[in-house]
Amino acid sequence: MRKLALSDDILMSIDKPARYIGNEVNSVVKDKDKIDIRFCMCFPDVYEIGMSHLGIQILYDMFNQREDTWCERVYSPWPDLNKIMKDNNIPLFALESQDPLKDFDFLGITIQYEMCYTNLLQILDLTQIPLLSKDRTEEHPIVIGGGPCTYNPEPIADFFDIFYIGEGETVYDELLDTYKKMRDDGCSRQDILHELAKIRGIYVPSLYNVSYNGDGTISAFTPIYDDIPATIEKNVEMNTGNIGWPRKPVIPFIKAIQDRVTLEIMRGCIRGCRFCQAGMLYRPTRERDVNELKAMADQMLSSTGYDEISLSSLSSSDYRPLKELLDYLIEKYNGKGVNISLPSLRIDAFSLDVMSKVQDVRKSSLTFAPEAGTQRLRNVINKGLTEEDIINGAGLAFDGGWQKVKLYFMLGLPGETEEDIKGIPELAEKICRRYYEIPKDQRNGKCQVTMSTSFFVPKPFTPFQWVRMATSEYFIESAKLVKSTMMEQLNKKSMHYIWHHEDVTILEGIFARGDRKLCDVIRKAYDKGQIFDAWEEYFKVDVWNECFKECNVDPDFYIFRERDYNEILPWDFIDAGVTKEFLKREYENAKKGIVTPNCRQKCAGCGIASYKGGVCIEHKG
């Protein structure tokens, strides 16, 4: 029987020991003696969150199809175990083999949000390897970062040996094969990293020099060798048949946040909302074949025994064979012990019909994401959802028996005025009025309209990458204005307002567009005990403020400054497919409130057409 890395005493004294024992259904165990490459995939947050992530499941399946590679998993130990491991000098271990990570060839970490940056250091520290790439030697694993945050990897550049920019399906085989050959030939770690840096999408931060101007902006960003690229081009899988999917998803014993089969129907988004980083990064939009998806759904449901399946994409209503796919799933599974959980669909007659088949209308709520309170500001952000769409959609739903509506907004969008903020509860009011137009004897009590606001964070590779971010004070004032305007509405009793704390958003903003100087700040915060900053109970704004001061780094430089078009941005060395010219054009359109049509209506010339695939060639066969 497998021996666990943690003793009974420890496992019985911590919360949810099942996070650390592995042995889950569909987890992969291989014979160590027949393996050349030990790879550990990490999601740097607690198990229940990490296990909900589709990307890791895809890569896990992909790596383990290689006979020479054993890919295992690890997640961030929760603070209770973190302390025990540090006090007792227990090295971090992989779930499957329970072997220490420090003996692995690779530690691959997916970086999905900025607030996990201290958890990256926790993982490295518990693994008992040097936190800084430059201090690691041949005896340590190669630390790879991937995921959306690597489109600006600079704030964490010192901690990683390699960043993999783009989709995992494309060059991992090349990377592993090159590594294996060079390692077996006895090449040094430095030589291996140098060679890997020649592979498309592979960024080795230690091989690039950054110099700065007197004002702190970047003056030059250059490779130290002539034979590695100055610009790193993202990886995209253009053959949708090759997009990975987990044939046998690993099933956690304890309930994960996403505890169901996830079916990825499409990558990318045609909409071009100007605030949305994912919408820019994952271009071009690529639809998966509907027949493949049907077979995938069947296979994943039977290999897991899950009682729920959900569809995943950035904008599922834009998946053209959606009706055919949903008809198939409903026909085959609905009422037979498998729930079909719908992604947020554009609310229209079709989606309401589907919803009424698979949900209890009275209990479920409808979701709209207007993002801004007025049409003017929605045009600025290129959110192609009109007030008419919302009111009509809600009206149809109310007529069909729904009573609950959720509305998502952002505060602090570029060019936002008081009118736009007041427009949020005013829109909610219009929705309520539509509900009360239904004769009293035909409706079922009150309606419930929930407004939820988050604070806008400008992200790299969006048309808003140059903008000044709003301040904490502004966020608090604008949230108060939403609240007070809501209280003035006739139907205020049918409304709820939820808003989130602003401190974390500010830090997220700093990291999102930060540079290498932030590595020291993150290191300092970790040294002061910060981990799990994404969790409100562990985020301490005072500690972070101290760290900036002690490192002599001015946080305002990163957020409260409109950047010049000529400035070299920290992420400019990455080619994400969309051109800087396009982003500038879109920012100028935003300032004028000009709407850009979606990719299917008219090509906006973003640059991604050079990849010759997906939506860019839909009409050309």
């Binding site: 019985m12 020991p17 592995g22 042995n23 014993f253 025994g305 009682d307």
Partner: protein
């Protein structure tokens, strides 16, 4: 048709709690292709219930789950199918058809039998068994064995004595746990909805009597079997209330 499934829990699976084991079986039943019956309603769920829930940290050779099925293969084929859907540490041991109108296992649990041994003591350490049995006999010879038990309404005093059906020290072995002739306390106590005696209650009380401290994590609790009562009020293994299925049954 109602089926009683007996399974064991060993190794790292002892850290998986009762509710998560239920969720594990809900999926395993689908993977194994068992033709389980669902409840009516908007969100139909599998008809499934478990006998006495096991605490985290306890291992067991006698766990029971009752399910309703629409059709079934033979016991042997069903056990094989379920075992291909298990993980290391969970093993399906039996699959039996219950008589019509049999009460479900949860409602008829009357007793459970446990072995308890020190986790860190090596093999062959059986010298103290006679001494332990002497102590047990004098402990059981008391007129009453009063303990305080925490209930929903606060603390209550309870006499353990009538709820201990047997109690002795002996050498205990388990292949699954890789232990041989381990000095153990083995006892059967009242379990279920009427008087539920958790093994820790007896252990604490007995250790107290011996003037020793019972340190929970030092001991492994091992459930050997769970019992109901037959028509003559005698304890009978829950497993013996069902019958083996020789051939496939398909009412349609």
């Amino acid at each position: 048709m109602n089926i009683r499934v007996k399974f064991s829990k060993h190794g790292s699976i002892k850290f998986i709690g009762h509710l998560d084991i239920m969720r594990f079986f809900q999926k395993a039943i689908i993977r194994a292709g068992i033709d389980i019956a669902y409840s009516e309603g908007y969100n139909p769920h599998q008809i499934m219930s478990f006998a006495a829930p096991l605490s985290v940290g306890v291992i067991s050779d006698g766990e029971y789950m009752d399910i309703a099925v629409k059709s079934t293969k033979s016991s042997k084929d069903s056990i094989d199918a379920l075992n291909t859907a298990m993980v290391e540490g969970v093993k399906v041991l039996d699959y039996k058809l219950l008589p019509d109108h049999a009460k479900n296992s949860m409602s008829i649990v009357a007793a459970a039998r446990y072995a308890v041994y020190n986790k860190s003591v090596g093999v062959g350490n059986i010298n103290d068994i006679p001494e332990l049995n002497e102590r047990i006999n004098s402990y059981l010879a008391k007129d009453e064995i009063l303990i305080t038990k925490e209930t929903k309404k606060g603390e209550a005093t309870l006499d353990l004595k009538p709820n201990i059906y047997d109690f002795k020290a002996c050498a205990f072995s388990s292949e699954d746990e890789e232990i041989t002739d381990r000095t153990s306390l083995v006892f059967t106590v009242s379990t279920g909805s009427i008087t539920n005696i958790k093994p820790e209650l007896l252990l604490k009380s007995f250790f107290d009597y011996c003037n020793k401290e019972y340190v929970e994590n030092e001991y492994q609790i091992y459930r050997i079997e769970v019992y109901g009562r037959d028509d003559n009020e005698r304890l009978i293994s829950l497993n013996d209330l069902g019958a083996n299925i020789e051939y496939e049954i398909n009412p349609d």
